[in-house]
């Protein structure tokens, strides 16, 4: 029984949240308690499946799952002419890293939502969409099929847009949802067009198969741009970041935290396209595409943080910081890509830069998710996001204040929290590539700290204010959700090398091992 479950973990990873999503409206008819129980069960099982699958990948290498095949590992049917025609999930260490992010975040966010959304109506639809979004994200980072990736991208985008606009009593929320839907749709159309171009040329949709057949043609380069640029937009890279503050600000805070994870799934897609799908074809142009990521990263880091500082809406401020932090990830992995053709530089600092970038992805998901949840907690009790109106909440909301401090110190790169560990890897490796970029990254961290000192002062410091006299700490499920993320922030900060050794270094190796990814499907063809 357990062996059979373990064998089908990749399928369960998506099946559990999908099944939960469609079951929730039925459970809702039986009452709120039944629905809440199902929501907790669905979130716990999804996380369990995700963490179990990730543990299997980190222990034993890439896991393949072929849907509909007699054996889950039989990628190529006897009579298919050597083409893996079935839907295949291919989870390597990079995918497993993303699965861990989605599993932990979704559990914390769902727990938090149970209390945060308790006073709202329409909870059946809300939780159904939430689980669809989780399924979309998990599918994006697990699939080994280009068209499947598009489908999961669409699922996550549409569910995300619906959730952003879910509280329709606020006009701004609808506007935020519309912008997210529009940009996502235009981006997805571009991705679909690129997949069409590749399918028309190579008669395959499997990523490993297309990667093995790809030639250095003009159409391939057009497809590359049509794939890479929308994914860079979806992860909020400057100058395509404009949707991010509008959308993140107006969504319910739990959803904003989940949208951060969704954006990072797009970042995963971008890296997968550049390294795995197009790896060898870019061998003459590593520097060009590496610099594409580096420039996007540097711009995102600096523009994001400078736009954050003058903001008065706490969530808008945090949204700009999300843009800024994405810059670090692009910068780290971009440096690795830029020196990919230079084996000496890659070994000396390129892989460390990539490790810093990938480590920052999981760190950012945790501390930024935590920060958005604390902002949501403050909004839950005070009804405002306006920093000019807030103040003195540290007296009434001590747990929220402590969680905010942990998140704020982590995002600013203050030791011993996790943000420092990944930023240190980025600073030291990027310095050897370009001292200017490393100094810029440090300046951005200083500005980030300044920005969060302002938020901390404005929300929590000062004497208690008369208008918030009735404010008290948020309910236990919200504290539990924040505590899960805070625990990770502290743990990854205290034992960073353990995370690097067990999760990050294997993810970096998986990212650069294009031949290994192809061989897992085609058996070394």
């Amino acid at each position: 029984m357990m062996d059979s479950l373990a064998l089908h973990l990749p399928a369960l990873l998506v099946a559990i949240p999908l099944f939960t999503a469609f079951l929730i409206p039925l459970a809702g008819r039986a009452g709120g308690t039944v629905r809440s129980a199902l929501v907790i069960l669905g979130a716990a099982l999804t996380s369990l499946a995700g963490l179990a699958l990730a543990a299997r990948v980190f222990a034993g290498g890439t896991v393949l799952y072929v849907f509909g095949a007699a054996a889950p590992h039989a990628a190529i049917p006897m009579d298919s002419g050597g083409i893996p025609i079935r839907i295949i999930f291919q989870v390597d260490a990079l995918g497993a890293l993303m699965v861990v992010i989605a599993a932990l975040s979704s559990l914390a966010i769902t727990l938090y939502s149970l209390a945060a959304e308790s006073r709202q109506s329409g909870k059946d639809g809300f939780y159904s969409m939430l689980f669809l979004l989780v399924a979309g994200v998990l599918g994006m980072v697990s699939t080994g099929d280009l068209f499947n990736f598009f489908v999961f991208l669409e699922i996550s985008s549409l569910a995300g847009a619906a959730l952003v606009a879910y509280r329709i009593d606020q006009g701004e929320a609808v506007e935020g949802g519309l912008k997210y839907a529009l940009l996502s749709t235009v981006g997805a159309l571009s991705v679909l067009m690129a997949i069409g171009i590749l399918f028309a040329q190579y008669n395959a949709l499997n990523i490993a198969t297309v990667a093995s057949r790809l030639r250095f043609g003009a159409l391939d380069m057009i497809a590359l741009v049509l794939l890479a640029v929308p994914l860079a937009m979806k992860c909020g890279a400057v100058p395509m970041h404009f949707w991010t503050p509008d959308t993140y600000t107006t969504a319910p805070s739990s959803i904003t935290a989940l949208l951060v994870v969704s954006s990072q799934a797009s970042l995963y897609g971008l890296f997968r396209i550049l390294f795995t799908l197009y790896g060898d074809l870019l061998r003459f142009n590593w520097a060009v595409f590496g610099w594409f990521l580096v420039i996007l990263g540097a711009l995102s880091a600096f523009v994001g943080v400078t736009m954050a500082i003058p903001q008065k809406d706490v969530k808008r401020l945090m949204a700009y910081h999300a843009v800024s932090q994405t810059g670090y990830m692009l910068l780290g992995v971009g440096v690795g890509l830029a020196v990919f053709a230079d084996a000496g530089a890659l070994a000396a600092y390129g892989k460390t830069a990539m490790a810093g970038g990938l480590f920052h992805i999981i760190n950012h998901a945790m501390y930024k998710g935590l920060l958005f949840l604390t902002a949501g907690a403050v909004f839950y009790r005070t009804g405002t996001r306006n920093l000019n109106r807030l103040g003195g909440l540290g007296h009434a909301m001590p747990w929220t204040m402590v969680f905010f401090m942990i998140g704020a110190l982590a995002i600013a790169g203050i030791p011993p929290f996790n943000g420092f560990a990944s930023k240190l890897l980025i600073y030291e490796s990027v310095f050897r590539f370009s001292p200017f970029l490393a100094i810029l990254a440090m300046v951005v961290s200083i500005l980030t700290l300044a920005s969060f000192v302002k938020v901390f002062h404005s929300m929590f410091m000062g004497p208690p204010r008369a208008e918030f006299a009735g404010v008290r700490e948020v309910p236990a499920p919200m504290i539990a959700g924040m505590a899960i993320l805070a625990a990770f922030v502290i743990l990854a900060g205290l034992v960073p090398q353990a995370f690097v050794d067990r999760m990050i270094a294997p993810a970096v190796n998986a990212l650069v091992d294009r031949a290994g990814y192809i061989a897992a499907i085609l058996g070394g063809h």
């Binding site: 940009l183 235009v186 100058p239 400078t306 008065k312 000019n388 011993p416 205290l494 034992v495 690097v500």
Partner: protein, 113 residues
């Protein structure tokens, strides 16, 4: 010698354990200094703060709103912000235009380099 919990950065190393020990030592020193203070001093005994001759504001009115913080920074960076902020129009078609613009630029670069 390998010290547990050390993060290897390629160019150096970072150990949170040593940092925490250092932090604890600094905390201990601060506590020692504090403990040597006058035990008969109570809060409220201090003189009122001197604010350029102005009356000390009431507690409730003493909180400085967020907009007043970093005024000097934004004022010094006015030229930068006056150029950057107008790009954030809030108009969805502008957002799509930026996406298409970057795509067009990358197409030119990808097809010519």
């Amino acid at each position: 010698m390998d010290i547990p919990w050390t993060l290897q950065t390629g160019a150096g190393a970072w150990n949170p354990l040593l940092w925490l020990v250092g932090f604890a030592v600094a905390f201990g020193v601060a506590w020692l200094v504090r403990s040597r203070g006058r035990p008969d001093n109570r809060s409220g005994d201090a003189l009122k703060p001197f604010i350029s001759g102005n009356e000390e504001p009431e507690n409730a009115g003493g909180h400085i709103p967020a907009s007043n913080l970093y005024w000097g920074f934004t004022e010094a960076m006015k030229a930068y912000y006056s150029r950057l902020v107008p790009f954030h129009t809030g108009i969805p078609s502008d957002y799509v235009a930026w996406l298409l613009g970057v795509m067009a630029l990358m197409l030119v670069i990808a097809l010519t380099v």
